[in-house]
């Protein structure tokens, strides 16, 4: 809605419909064959939202492909009951590599202060409820410290340059809504913080020396499979969605 009516994105509606529809249909197919619980269809909406917010493509088929890839990854790439990759993240990276038709527009959400405030507030409320606000905070603080040291202390740019970097709408969406997926973050709070910091460090290196504008998304793709290792090293109670808890009381 914001993209269509305020940011004037073109032909957004058909693309959103394709992503939402394909994600839902794929999820329902896995429910039908008994791979997923009936209550899991809501999670496909979250994946679809991530794709709509961060991924773009010329062809509707490319978007459909990314949607199928995202949802399917939840069932094909699993380890000890958790997803090996963040579904939307894998869908984006996989489609970028395979089709050559999609792209991420890091600047598409602009750097409006109001937008940042709304996204930050909504994200904080949501993450507080699911207990993953620590992941976002660890990522943001680590990235900010690294960027501050290089951009301001070393290079000598003024603070507004740093603030502009951090006011990117896409960056904020990533920090609040992509890396915090409970099914792909480590279970232990300290493990999550270290995991998030390692994503920040890798993203910083990739953006600074490899000039990759979408570095955080690639860093998440590379670090997420290590979640299983973090879970082995730091054991803690596994996250369950509310409905799962009700259906399968511990």
């Amino acid at each position: 809605m914001l993209g269509t009516f305020i940011l004037n994105w073109d032909t957004l509606l058909p693309k959103v419909m394709v992503v939402l529809g394909t994600c839902m249909v794929t999820q329902l197919a896995f429910i039908k064959v008994g791979k997923a619980h009936e209550s899991s269809w809501m999670s496909s909406l979250i994946t679809a939202l991530g794709l709509c917010l961060l991924f773009r493509a010329n062809d509707l088929n490319t978007l459909a492909f990314a949607s199928v890839l995202s949802i399917s990854s939840k069932f094909f790439f699993r380890i000890r009951g958790k997803h090996l990759f963040n579904p939307a993240n894998l869908g984006i990276i996989g489609t970028l590599l395979i089709t050559q038709d999609g792209w991420i527009s890091p600047g598409q959400w602009g750097s409006s202060v109001i937008f940042l405030f709304i996204m930050g507030a909504l994200g904080s409320i949501l993450l507080f409820r699911v207990g993953r606000l620590d992941t976002t905070m660890a990522f943001l603080i680590a990235f900010f410290v690294l960027e501050y040291c290089r951009t301001v202390l070393y290079l000598g740019w003024s603070m507004d340059v740093l603030i502009h970097k951090f006011s990117s709408g896409s960056f904020i969406l990533f920090a609040f809504f992509m890396i915090t997926d409970p099914k792909t973050t480590p279970d232990h709070p300290w493990a999550r913080k270290i995991w998030a910091v390692s994503i920040a460090v890798l993203a910083f290196i990739m953006s600074t020396w490899a000039y990759i504008h979408t570095a955080p998304i690639w860093a998440l793709f590379l670090i997420t499979p290590l979640t299983a290792v973090f879970d082995l090293l730091w054991k803690s109670e596994r996250f369950r969605w509310l409905k799962e808890r009700n259906l399968n009381p511990i």
């Binding site: 050559q100 792209w103 600047g107 000598g156």
Partner: protein, 478 residues
């Protein structure tokens, strides 16, 4: 050592791909502010070719330009190109006005909407200037990495260890650096950038018997795809405009750290905008309004099209002939196969940036995307039909014309902010020809129009159905 008092007025103009953007230095003439610059940017993998227009209008001996570059350029990486390339690309891709004529409603078998005239909003060039240089100076920690004679230009590639030394070196060698430049030079130096310093070879200019300086083109390989606009803001006073003509194999070029937005396009505007000299101010105000509306921190897309020669239509309408093989080669698109140029893919993006220090704290970073969607800035004027309007079709046409012109005037106000009581004469120009309808005589409740007729018939049908339903219920009850 030649000493020149130099400077300033920097206009930085940015350049493209790898951290570049330089500034023009003008000799103590503060009037030489950069207000608009043009750059051709070719990107293929990590290879960048950047061509900078040179619209310097002062005394050539005062000309000088400093541009940060990512690597020490070789002699073969620096060229001069034909200035006609810029005017060709500008006029071809500029936002355009298209004119249509209404058909006469009381004549039959007439073709409608025949496009006739096209005008473009061309750019106005800019200027700048500068002066001389020296060589390695240990005291300033500045090293002259290379020195080249490139046609009418003398080129030096400098490296520095800290901004203070570079600044002092430039001053010592006759350049006057603008206030604020030092704080911008420092980050570029620490980022490992070199400085491409250009002045005019007066002997060569004399030999060429001209004072006109051709555009400079540089080429290099780097992962960074950016324009260092901050350097050009060092002595800038207010907003600066920059037009970027970008060519890639894959698709559109877009900015990664600022929003890239489309200009309002395909809008119907009043026919008086086509009057001599009106389209220029119209587009200027349209751009300013769009710039304000988008928060003054966006990059505007003015044109995007697959210009591969065998692709077919490349604009609607085209303002001039499309760029072909020679233009692509001149711009630096070296992937064009000379044996099969018509099938070598090439995509043209035109971006317009208006920037200033407050709204654009970061340099411009770009990326090449597979986005192949076409776009052009296009504004439509439609001329009213003339002739006999006495027939019913003519009367309908005049009423619709009045309504259409109201919308056009509203659109004009929305696009540019132009409002005037005088526009009423445009709206009602042909309204005198509308005769009061002798309508609805004897049938006061049935509106005399197609829509009204349909509505009336539907109302009658509904009444008929309701009546039958009532009768059926009565029969059932009976």
């Amino acid at each position: 050592m030649k000493k020149v008092s130099v400077i300033t007025a920097i206009m930085l103009f940015c350049i493209g791909a790898h951290a570049f953007c330089g500034f023009y230095v003008a000799k103590a003439d503060a009037t030489l502010f950069n207000t608009k610059s043009q750059i051709i940017l070719v990107r293929d993998g990590e290879r960048s070719v950047i061509t900078m227009s040179n619209d310097f209008k002062g005394d050539v001996k005062d000309f000088a330009m400093v541009i940060p570059v990512p690597v020490v350029l070789g002699r073969n990486d620096i060229r001069v190109v034909n200035p006609a390339l810029f005017s060709m690309l500008d006029s071809y891709s500029a936002p355009r006005m298209v004119e249509y004529w209404d058909t006469e409603p009381c004549l039959r078998y007439m073709e409608c909407d025949e496009m006739i005239d096209v005008r473009s909003m061309s750019m106005v060039p800019i200027m700048a200037r500068e002066e001389s240089v020296s060589r390695k100076d240990k005291q300033y920690h500045v090293t002259v990495e290379a020195r080249y004679d490139v046609e009418e230009y003398d080129v030096l590639i400098l490296s520095a260890k800290e901004s203070g030394g570079l600044k002092q070196w430039l001053i010592h060698n006759g350049y006057k650096i603008p206030e604020g430049a030092e704080e911008v030079l420092d980050p570029y130096i620490k980022n490992g950038l070199k400085f491409f310093v250009v002045k005019v070879d007066l002997e060569e200019m004399k030999a060429r018997n001209t004072e006109y300086m051709r555009p400079l083109q540089i080429e290099f390989n780097s992962g960074k795809f950016m324009l260092p606009i901050r350097l050009g803001m060092a002595n800038a006073d207010g907003d600066q405009d920059m037009i970027v003509y970008a060519f890639t194999r894959q698709g559109r070029v877009e900015c990664t750290n600022y929003r890239t937005v489309k200009l309002p396009t395909d809008r119907n505007i009043p026919a008086f905008v086509k009057e001599k000299g009106q389209f220029g101010p119209f587009y200027k105000d349209l751009f300013t309004k769009a710039y304000d509306r988008e928060g003054r921190n966006s990059v505007f897309l003015e044109y995007a099209w697959n210009v591969t020669p065998n692709f077919g239509m490349k604009c609607d309408p085209c303002v001039g002939p499309p760029p072909m093989y020679q233009e692509f080669v001149d711009a630096g698109a070296n992937w064009i196969d000379p044996n099969n140029p018509n099938n070598s893919p090439i995509f043209f993006t035109r971006l317009h940036v208006r920037y200033n220090r407050d709204e654009f704290p970061q340099d411009l970073f770009f990326q090449v995307t597979p986005n192949m969607e076409h776009f052009q800035g296009r504004y439509v004027v439609t001329n009213a039909a003339t002739g006999d309007m006495s027939c019913s079709g003519g009367q309908e046409y005049l009423k619709e014309l009045e309504m259409r012109r109201k919308k056009e005037v509203d659109e004009l106000a929305a696009l540019t902010g132009w409002k005037s009581p005088r526009y009423a004469s445009y709206i009602y120009q042909y309204s005198a020809g509308i005769h009061e309808p002798k309508r609805n005589e004897g049938l006061p409740f049935i509106p005399w129009s197609t829509g009204g007729t349909v509505a009336g018939i539907m109302a009658l049908a509904l009444g008929f159905v309701v009546r039958r339903r009532k009768k059926a219920l009565q029969l059932e009850n009976a």
